[in-house]
């Protein structure tokens, strides 16, 4: 059986990600042990929290270098995805620079633009392998106040205030701004696609 590691660090929603994998019949290892992370067949990098505090923790614990140098498939979720970018406006944080793009703060254009972007929104222009074509226009669950603009690594797009990256992919690194672990059966299909890589 494949070994799946979920990176444990000072961030929320790790239990939710672990539970989602359990529902798919997978017993993952929740760990901050560098060897266990490096030896896993796949790694999930979840996250709910604040960018600069979390980056400080990752740098001090040495997890930053471990994550950047992983060669197996890695899935960053929500803050995990933002931390995989170059820089975040949240706390002016220098991040892991796996994706050579910057994370911006949502700025409301009208009263109806509530921030954070919270709730179910649809994904478009989805690309394989994380998304199969049947996932085009499906709804997934978002909670975030910062976003990654569209760029060459965008593999799914969502529109809130402006079109932004719902998902990124480069080499062995995959990431979703939304929470597949909270996105019902659609989220389970996306997680399954990642686990099949």
């Amino acid at each position: 059986m494949e070994k799946i590691a979920i990176i444990k660090y000072n961030a929320g929603n790790i239990f939710s990600v672990d539970s989602a994998l359990k529902r798919l019949g997978i017993e993952a290892t929740v760990t901050d042990d560098k060897n266990l992370i490096q030896q896993a067949d796949k790694v999930i990098f979840p996250g709910v929290g604040e960018a600069s505090t979390t980056m400080k923790y990752l740098n001090e614990s040495g997890l930053s270098d471990v994550i950047k140098n992983l060669e197996q498939p890695v899935l960053g979720i929500c803050l995990g995805m933002q931390l995989m970018c170059r820089h975040s406006e949240e706390g002016n944080a220098n991040c892991l620079n796996i994706f050579d793009v910057d994370v911006k703060r949502f700025v409301s254009q009208k009263h109806e633009d509530k921030i954070p972007h919270m709730g179910w929104n649809n994904i478009t222009d989805v690309k394989q392998p994380l998304f199969d074509p049947s996932l085009e226009n499906e709804y997934v669950y978002f909670v975030h106040g910062f976003y990654v603009p569209l760029n060459e690594y965008t593999v799914a797009t969502t529109d809130y205030i402006l079109p932004f990256s719902a998902s990124l992919h480069k080499d062995n690194f995959y990431a979703t701004q939304f929470h597949p672990e909270k996105s019902g059966s659609v989220g389970e299909r996306i997680l399954t696609n990642f686990l099949k890589l």
């Binding site: 239990f15 509530k114 972007h117 709730g119």
Partner: protein, 250 residues
């Protein structure tokens, strides 16, 4: 486009759902996990579980229940009831809840909103407000509507937002249980005043009421209990009706 949300609310006492629930195809409709899973399969966008137990033993049962919910349910859920201090929030989030809802405690000690927002993020903090119109003003109540406070709805809601609440869950005590529609006028005013999402509660009796709370009340989400629990409205039917009415639904 961001979808409007439909949220069933389950009241929990000593680990089981209360209110006269009668579902033929559920082995145990009293089990909040089974009922939650049923609603989730039917298309509910989020769930709210309110603990109405008052005892210490009951609290522990509720925490264990939250863990079971988190293990079994694949959509976001909020838990509320009996949150008195930050430690309670930590315990419930660790058990797997996505958000916590504070009501009476926040009125008595507004600082708890700041603390939740600072420690766990605004997105975790739902400020629930029960209010009643006294002919002149909407006044807030605590303890499940038993105690009148000196706080006025709009002032308090704005304060809660400024302190860091991520959402407001407003229940109109005048509309709750009457099944003649939500407090759309007050809701629209709240929506105009605030820039965080508003969950409307109290008054759902028909599918049209949901349409109206989104169109006239400008609510971001509509919460209901008995119309779902008694099987008067099926969530799947409700969502297809709302789609026909051009309301964006998942």
């Amino acid at each position: 486009m961001l979808a409007k949300r439909i949220i069933p609310c389950l009241d929990i006492k000593d680990g089981t759902t209360v209110k006269g629930i009668n579902f033929e195809n559920l082995r145990n409709a009293g089990d909040p996990v089974e009922l939650g899973m049923k609603y989730s399969k039917e298309g509910a966008d989020e769930l709210v579980f309110l603990d109405i137990t008052a005892t210490f033993e009951g609290r522990k049962t509720f925490t264990d229940l939250v863990k079971r919910i988190a293990l079994n349910i694949n959509i976001p859920f909020t838990v509320g009831g009996g949150i008195n201090e930050l430690q309670d929030v930590d315990r419930l989030l660790n058990a797997g809840a996505d958000k916590v809802s504070v009501n009476s405690t926040a009125i008595r000690n507004p600082l708890i909103i700041d603390q939740i927002a600072q420690n766990f993020g605004s997105q975790v903090c739902v400020c629930a407000i029960d209010a009643k119109f006294d002919g002149d003003k909407w006044m807030c109540y605590t303890s499940g509507g038993r105690n009148l406070t000196d706080k006025e709805l709009f002032t308090w809601a704005k304060e809660a937002q400024d302190r860091g609440a991520g959402e407001i869950l407003f229940t109109s005590m005048d509309h709750d249980g009457v099944k003649e529609g939500y407090a759309n006028e007050a809701l629209a005013q709240l929506s105009e005043l605030l820039n965080i999402p508003i969950i409307a509660s109290g008054g759902a009796g028909s599918m049209e009421h949901f349409r109206d709370v989104f169109e006239q009340g400008k609510a971001d989400a509509a919460l209901a209990a008995s119309v779902f629990h008694f099987g008067e409205i099926a969530i799947a039917d409700l969502k297809s009706y709302l789609r026909q009415e051009k309301i964006n639904m998942r």
